[in-house]
């Protein structure tokens, strides 16, 4: 299933001109407040009719400005989780949740009410009116409502912004399962939170000021030192794939990446499975000689590819470990003292605990 968006629209002073492709999986729209993320997602949902352009989903034209094609929202079968929850105030939580189920083709696959209730912790709220829910509870109901309409694709506009970290940690794996399960449910996901994006997204579209600033597969965009300022210094970091080798008794697991083995805690996948690791640039230290007596247990030999000096006191360093790319953020002083330069070999020290379970996916 592939979504292709190529639209232009103007609101007063603001002009939106966005072209991107999403080939299944999760596509993240990332950008600052007012960048145009909600507008794009509205156009895909059929709530905004762009001035011109074309939107297609798996070959079906949802909108075409040239031929005046505009498929109404109700026929698009896209589950939209709104930035504001937009629950139906006159319906109970239960009726909100099941609102859309009768319009889906009976054979369409999708989660059951039971699944959604346990995932989102809504069981005790079923008979509650939306006016009596807390902010986060509303958002959860909105998410459940969209899931239960058995959509062909999910559109999520900051669905987790008002949720606490533990709840997010429950929902994120579920979204991954939706993406990876038999449904292969594609998701268009708007978020400000880089860690969510890094964990979930297959494709990353960086929006700024109504324009696409960068787009491409997550691994590429995230490991590109030039994207660091767009993502935020503290949030930049490479995403790499690893194979689970074995679990040890103390909870650490051995994972293999092309450049060597890593010991990480909290890995749920079975041995043999492939998982996604996010390694924050700031969690990677560099050492010119192999250190010992350190609590960090992950030490990889790497080669420096580029040294990208930003405007501040830090530098982003692209590293190659086997076939994988890593990103390290160190001070300029360290660059000078250790004489770090492209082509140089050194050791990357990755704290075992700094790859949190939350950023391990797939």
């Amino acid at each position: 299933m592939s979504l292709s968006v190529d639209i232009a629209h103007t609101f007063g002073d603001f002009s939106l001109q966005v072209t991107f492709q999403a080939e299944g999986g999760i596509t993240a729209l990332f950008g600052r407040s007012g960048a145009g993320k909600t507008s794009v997602i509205n156009a895909v949902a059929g709530l905004l009719r762009p001035d011109q352009g074309r939107i297609t989903l798996s070959g079906e034209t949802l909108f075409d400005g040239d031929t005046q094609t505009f498929l109404p929202s109700a026929k698009r079968r896209l589950g939209y989780v709104f930035q504001d929850a937009r629950l139906f105030p006159h319906l109970s939580v239960r009726d909100n949740l099941t609102f859309g189920s009768r319009y889906a083709p009976p054979t369409a696959p999708g989660p059951s009410l039971e699944d959604v209730l346990s995932l989102l912790g809504l069981r005790d709220l079923l008979d509650r009116a939306p006016g009596r829910l807390s902010g986060g509870e509303k958002q959860r109901v909105a998410l459940g409502r969209a899931l239960l309409s058995k959509p062909r694709m999910l559109l999520m506009d900051e669905p987790l912004a008002s949720l606490d970290a533990p709840r997010k940690q429950e929902i994120l794996p579920y979204l991954e399962r939706l993406r990876d399960g038999p449904l292969g449910l594609p998701i268009l996901y708007v978020s400000h939170a880089v860690d969510e994006v890094a964990r979930l997204a297959d494709t990353l579209v960086l929006l700024g000021n109504g324009r696409v600033q960068a787009q491409g597969p997550l691994y590429e965009v995230m490991a590109d030192p030039a994207a660091v300022p767009l993502l935020g210094v503290r949030e930049a970091g490479a995403v790499i794939e690893a194979e689970v080798i074995q679990h040890a008794a103390d909870g650490l697991s051995r994972l293999r990446i092309s450049g060597g083995d890593l010991l990480l805690p909290g890995v749920q996948a079975d041995p043999g499975a492939r998982v996604r690791l996010r390694v924050l640039a700031q969690d990677v230290m560099l050492s010119v000689k192999r250190p010992d007596g350190l609590s960090a247990v992950n030490i990889l030999p790497v080669k420096i590819e580029t040294v990208h000096q930003g405007e501040g006191p830090g530098a982003a360093i692209a590293l190659r470990a086997g076939q994988d790319r890593l990103l390290a953020r160190v001070t300029r002083r360290a660059v000078a003292e250790l004489q770090l330069a492209p082509g140089m070999g050194c050791f990357a020290i990755i704290k075992a605990t700094s790859v949190a379970p939350g950023s391990i996916g797939r």
């Binding site: 949902a45 059929g46 709530l47 109404p72 929202s73 109700a74 698009r76 079968r77 896209l78 589950g79 939209y80 709104f82 504001d84 937009r86 139906f88 105030p89 006159h90 319906l91 609102f99 859309g100 319009y103 889906a104 509650r128 009116a129 939306p130 006016g131 009596r132 409502r145 969209a146 309409s149």
Partner: protein
């Protein structure tokens, strides 16, 4: 027939006519209100003015116009007649007059309510796959219940009180078209008829109080459901 019996008859008939008129007018008014609130079409302004017309015209004129439009010799009246729906001197004619007279009140209240519905909720329903009619039935309609109720109670009250158009269109036939207002009016035309009139006015007041109280109770329930409080 004693005077009191006639008054009771008039009350019964009035209640019947008003209930019937309200039942028929509510869906019709809802449709027109929806058209006026949500659609653009040629002739919208005309329709809108037309709906208000019974308010502006003296009821006698409305009654006379009804006679012209739905009289036995008018094509419309004849067509209805052949369908077995006789309006002339029949309580159904009183119902028609009551519908027309209460229509502006109903349409306005319902339109106001429709215009107050947040279109974002309707959009949300559409994204969940609900076709237009389902969005209306499952989202818009429940949300405008207070407006429907307000329109219905105003329309009912107006239908109970309608006099001029009714008597002009279907005259004043005891048991058939003599509604409470007609009876009250007749009583007032006779010197010393005030006593009877007062008795019937009190009946009308009782109905008003009852209808209003009922509608308030319903409105409270609806409001509780909608606000979720």
């Amino acid at each position: 027939m004693s005077i009191d019996a006639a008054a009771w008859d008039a009350l019964r008939l009035s209640l019947w006519v008003a209930c019937f008129a309200t039942l028929i007018a509510v869906p019709l008014a809802l449709w027109i209100a929806w058209l006026l609130a949500r659609r653009d079409f040629p002739g919208k302004a005309t329709l809108n003015a037309l709906v208000h017309l019974p308010l502006v015209l003296p009821p006698v004129v409305t009654g006379y116009l009804l006679l012209v439009a739905f009289g036995r010799n008018a094509p419309l009246g004849r067509a209805l007649d052949s369908l077995g729906l006789t309006l002339a001197f029949h309580w159904s004619g009183a119902v028609l007059a009551a519908i027309i007279m209460s229509f502006p009140l109903m349409v306005r209240a319902m339109r106001l309510a429709i215009e107050a519905v947040d279109p974002k909720l309707e959009e949300a329903a559409a994204t969940l796959g609900a076709p237009g009619w389902a969005v209306f039935g499952r989202v818009t309609l429940p949300l405008i219940q207070p407006g429907i109720l307000a329109g219905a109670v105003m329309g009912f009250a107006k239908a109970m009180g309608e006099f001029g158009a009714t008597i002009t269109f279907v005259a004043n036939i005891p048991g058939q078209t003599q509604t409470l207002p007609s009876a009250i009016w007749a009583a007032l035309q006779i010197p010393g008829g005030e006593g009877q009139a007062i008795a019937m006015v009190l009946m009308a007041c009782a109905v008003a109080v009852g209808a209003v109280a009922l509608s308030e109770a319903l409105a409270r329930r609806v409001a509780r459901r909608i606000s979720g409080a």
